[in-house]
Amino acid sequence: MARRLLLLGVCLTALAGRAAADDAADRWLADLDRAERESRKTGKPLFVVFRCEH
């Protein structure tokens, strides 16, 4: 059976009218609590990705 992994990726993004990947300030975080704190602090929404590999 293939090894199962759960990956959590959180992207803090300004969503300022351009693709998130184009903005140097956008970055992926792997700590949901930290991302939520930064979101509250900066006022930026989060894009939270859950990945489960079977």
Binding site: R4, L6, L8, L15, G17, A19, A20, L32, E36, S39, R40, T42, G43, K44, P45, L46, F47, V48, V49, F50, R51, C52, E53, H54
Partner: protein, 316 residues
């Protein structure tokens, strides 16, 4: 998923990929991902993701302040977590399993609870992949058609939930657990329109055979393997859609005890000729039988029909 707040991060936990847009004050603005039985990625695209992101951005700007502190619920609240062990990784699909366990423990479980996150096609709506709330097609005589929806309409809300993606539509339908009419609001030529989706019995049902969370649901069919190809079926005189599951090289103890052998081809059960895949057959058994039932598997062995009686034993 061990420490994830499930009260906030609600999505179809059988998915291998799901995205949620979340406001700084912790509200989910929208969801992306979602699938049906046909394909894991047939309902998603990068354009569709961008479309949903722009909708989330707009919703974030326009959102009113929250009314109450968000609730918190994690897998630790489910008694079934104990059987996974204190340090075991909890996979997404196991959340559905833990929820099922909890319902069973409270006596609230029923098979109807299996049909989670119904696809919008269940109410007659096919949505565009690149613009996830634009109606690509309305099925004739469907709830959507009777409500007044047409191709090209832009869905605003279903059941009061905003819709910008297939996943949003699924979430809105998932939250509606009854057959009561479901309100829909949409735009047509810039004008807002509204209607009610009249829902028939069983409206939530769809092909759920792809769901990983069903694998532990009892009873197990105790047979498994690959479907025959179209050519193989034809060579045996079987129709294209006919069930034809070739037992793999590992024969489970209950199947072995019943006399099932590697390479036996399961084509039916209790004399019923079934039109389905092997994966769908596993769910068929779970939906129609109980642990302890005796079933007769109808097989082909070396080209000859053989019937084998098997007891659907519980898992050890």
């Amino acid at each position: 998923m061990r420490d994830v707040n499930l009260a906030k991060y609600q999505f179809d936990y059988d998915l291998t990929w799901a995205g949620l847009f979340v406001s700084p004050d912790g509200r989910v603005l929208g969801r992306y991902g979602g699938r049906d039985a046909e394909s894991a990625d047939g309902k998603v695209s990068l354009k569709g993701l961008r479309y949903a992101m722009e909708a989330a951005r707009k919703a974030n700007r326009e959102r009113p302040p929250p009314k109450a502190a968000p609730e918190r619920r994690t897998v630790a609240d489910y008694p079934g977590l104990k059987r996974l062990g204190p340090t075991a990784c909890v996979h997404c699909h196991q959340v559905h399993e833990l929820q099922r366990d909890a319902l069973q423990a409270r006596g609230e479980w029923g098979l109807d609870k299996l049909w989670v996150y119904p696809p919008p096609e269940n109410v007659g709506l096919t949505l565009e992949v690149d613009r996830g709330n634009v109606v690509a097609r309305v099925a004739p005589k469907s709830a959507a058609e009777k409500a007044g929806l047409r191709q090209g309409d832009v869905i605003r809300t279903i059941g009061g939930e905003p819709v910008a993606s297939f996943a949003d539509a699924q979430y809105a339908l998932h939250r509606h657990e009854s057959n009561e009419p479901l309100a829909a609001v949409w735009l047509r030529d810039g004008k807002e329109m509204a209607g009610k989706l009249e829902l028939a019995d069983g409206w939530r049902k769809s092909d759920i055979s792809w769901r990983w969370s069903l694998r532990q649901l009892e009873p197990s069919p105790w047979v498994h393997g690959d479907d025959l190809t179209s050519q193989e079926k034809k060579a045996l005189g079987l129709g294209e859609k006919r069930l034809a599951l070739r037992q793999g090289n590992f024969v489970t103890p209950p199947a072995r005890q019943a006399g099932i052998r590697q390479n036996d081809i399961i084509i039916g059960v209790d004399g019923r000729e079934l039109e389905m895949t092997g994966r769908q057959f596993a769910v068929y058994v779970k939906l129609n039988y109980k642990v302890g039932d005796k079933v007769t598997y109808n097989l082909l062995r070396d080209g000859k029909r053989v019937d084998v009686e098997l007891t659907l034993a519980g898992r050890p």
